[in-house]
């Protein structure tokens, strides 16, 4: 049979109270035993001392001395001790303790109490020589009474302590439950869809407040990511709508066209639109892939200088064709750990950005150099630049500034550059070239022994 689950608070109460009870019992038993032993020792000492006195009386005056001494004791008031002196024949010679003749030594005997009947007593039986035996005994009833009083007091105290403990622990459990409930209620509210709900913070800054604060911080971060995701999804859907609806119109129109040349033209336009959709997907997936950061194991030493010169040669004709100028300046022997193709793509995107957002006749500079411990790749132009307030925003996906609405693109170029920079432990910094824009990637330099560059290694077939 499955037992119903026990709540953590109840477990705390049970375990707490259990150990509390055990501790109290151990303490009580210890105190009881110690007190019992102390009282017993006191009784024994009293008996032994009196027995010694009587023995010395006996050795001086014989039976008479003992009788005299006993009479004196009786006259001086009530006596806790009882006595009996037996002669060699076993007859009582002195004392009024009603008891059968016991064996010598310490023992517990039964005697006949004139008021209460048979009673246990502690007794010392000593041989006095000449067959005489002296019995000195003390009634154990007072000790038993003390024992019972102590036990009764402990019993009461135990019950009271258990009651207090139970109440205290239950209060604690209730407090725990309450604090945890506020956190779990927050979680439940979020599961139910209220993403704005946050856990209550107490004013003590205790463990629970700290858990609640961490929880709230986590929720804030998640909310931020979700908002980002929503924005990206929304933008993606929006950006896909245009080429997809164009594609749809083109396919619709195709059916009505008889002329073969016209038809081919329409098909080509439709394919171009489909390609645009695919390119958009590729760009989004590429950014995600780079952002995931799983590319690091494939990083190798890269000759940045060679890469920059190479890209300069590749891109200069393109920039010139659009009536702008590309100047390349690069320090020799710049090396970083990274992915050559991604860095190339970042530089291509930056130059493409500069080309698109500057007027004809603009000058674009591609520079690479060492600065402190970093290798800086820089693309600067003398175009209109980006206002300081937009420089952070423009690095996000799908963000396009009003001024560039008319140019083609989806606002993913800089987002990819930033993702690539971050994958390389680098940062993308945008600043003012007065006039124009400076985009810089600061890469951690791997200025060790010069390793062979992967630049020249080609894996492509043919």
């Amino acid at each position: 049979m499955k037992r119903p689950p026990i709540s953590a608070a109840r477990r705390i109460v049970i375990i707490g109270l259990g150990s509390y009870a055990l501790a109290t019992l151990l303490l009580g038993t210890g105190i009881f035993l110690a007190m019992h032993a102390a009282f017993s020792r006191q009784i024994d000492a009293r008996i032994a001392q009196t027995s010694m006195t009587l023995q010395s009386e006996f050795s001086e005056d014989g039976v008479r001395g003992v009788v005299k001494a006993l009479r004196q004791r009786k006259m001086s008031g009530p006596d806790a001790l009882g006595f009996a002196l037996f002669d060699g024949a076993g007859h009582r010679a002195a004392g009024d303790l009603v008891v059968a003749l016991p064996a010598p030594g310490w023992q517990t005997i039964q005697f006949a109490d004139p008021d209460e009947g048979a009673d246990p007593a502690r007794a010392l039986v000593s041989d006095l020589g000449g067959g005489y035996r002296l019995v000195v005994a003390e009634d154990l009833t007072p000790l038993e009474e003390i024992d019972q009083t102590i036990l009764a007091m402990f019993g009461l105290a135990f019950v009271a302590l258990m009651g207090l403990g139970w109440a205290g622990l239950n209060l604690l459990a209730r407090f725990l439950r309450q604090r945890l409930r506020s956190i779990s209620q927050t979680a439940d509210a979020i599961i139910a869809g209220d993403l704005a709900c946050r856990a209550d913070l107490g004013m003590h800054d205790d463990e629970f407040d700290r858990v609640a604060a961490s929880l709230n911080a986590m929720l804030d971060r998640i909310a931020e990511l979700i908002a980002n995701l929503r924005q990206v999804t929304g933008d993606l859907a929006h950006d896909l709508r245009t080429p997809l609806s164009r594609l749809r119109h083109q396919l619709e129109a195709l059916g009505a066209i008889e002329d073969a040349a016209q038809r081919r033209k329409r098909v080509e336009a439709a394919i171009a639109n489909a390609d645009e959709v695919l390119a958009l997907f590729d760009a989004i997936l590429r950014i995600s892939e780079v952002e995931e950061g799983g590319l690091r194991p494939g990083f190798a030493a890269i000759d940045v200088s060679a890469l920059i010169v190479d890209l300069g040669e590749t891109l200069a004709p393109l920039v010139e064709e659009s009536r702008r100028l590309l100047k390349v300046a690069c320090e020799p022997e710049l090396r970083v750990m990274g992915n050559r193709e991604l860095l190339a793509q970042a530089v291509i995107n930056l130059i493409e950005n500069a080309r698109r957002h500057t007027p004809e006749g603009a000058a674009i500079e591609l520079r690479a150099g060492r600065r402190d411990d970093t290798v800086v790749i820089c693309v600067a132009d003398n175009g209109p630049g980006i206002p300081a307030c937009d420089r952070e925003r423009v690095q996000q996906r799908f963000v396009r500034l009003e001024a560039s609405r008319s140019t083609p693109g989806h606002g993913l170029g800089l987002a990819l550059v930033r993702a690539i920079a971050r994958a390389h432990d680098a940062s993308l910094a945008l600043s003012d070239a007065r006039p124009g824009l400076i985009a810089e990637i600061h890469l951690p330099s791997s200025c060790g022994v010069s390793q062979p560059s992967i630049n020249s290694i080609s894996r492509s077939p043919a």
């Binding site: 394919i271 590729d282 891109l315 193709e341 493409e352 077939p461």
Partner: protein
């Protein structure tokens, strides 16, 4: 050419097979990895086109097993996985080329053609000649009708690729991969720009254009 096509999506398989047959290739299409392995080992094909995701035995494993038994038939992997690591895995497994879906049919055709007509290893060829163009790979010099033409390194590499595949179409993506060693689409017209510069230099003085451009298919140098 005899082409083995291993593709589990029937529609894609039919589209590709029909297109390849129209180009006079002989096509055997299979839908399972195990069949692809068996057929591939027969050695009866010039090119194997394998989809990476095949039922049971995936394309990557098929390539590995083929290479393990010494089969050297060129392999083109088709895949819906376009991540950087996926391409590296594919080439590491022994594939010769890698094409991400969705692709233009002309791209696939050009790559199959290039794989099937593989020439001697690049290093053993020191001289290429197509018609009146003569390329010295050691001196890195190009002459047209004996006249020396000064080319930039990229232009030289573009021309070399076209001459190595004389008469065949080489696509824009293939040129980006082979001349620039980029496996991404730079979204800029680098091939077009450098190609037009190459053309201008080759055709200086009203000479006939030897390079043919077909939209969607790519470039080729006209066979003489």
């Amino acid at each position: 050419m005899r082409v083995l096509l291993a593709e589990d999506d029937a529609e894609t398989a039919a589209f590709v097979a029909q297109g390849l047959r129209a180009l006079d290739h002989e096509v055997v299409a299979v839908g399972q990895g195990a069949d692809a392995l068996e057929q591939g080992m027969s050695g009866a094909f010039d090119v194997l086109v394998l989809d990476r995701m095949l039922p049971e035995l995936d394309g990557l494993t098929v390539v590995k097993q083929l290479r393990a038994v010494g089969c050297k038939t060129p392999v083109l992997l088709l895949t819906a996985l376009g991540r950087i690591e996926n391409r590296v895995d594919g080439l590491d497994a022994g594939a010769d080329d890698y094409l991400v879906k969705p692709f233009a049919f002309s791209e696939l055709a050009a790559r199959i053609h290039a794989l099937g007509r593989r020439q001697a290893p690049a290093s053993t060829v020191t001289r290429l000649q197509v018609g009146e163009i003569d390329m010295d790979l050691l001196a890195r010099q190009v002459r047209r009708g004996g006249q020396l033409i000064m080319l930039q390194p990229r232009e030289f590499r573009l021309l070399e690729e076209l001459m190595r595949h004389e008469g065949q179409f080489v696509t824009r993506a293939m040129l980006i991969e082979r001349v620039w060693n980029f496996h991404f689409d730079p979204q800029t017209k680098i091939v077009e720009t450098h190609m037009s510069r190459l053309r201008a230099k080759l055709n200086e003085g009203e000479q006939p254009d030897l390079i043919e451009t077909v939209r969607g298919a790519g470039y080729r140098i006209r066979p003489q």
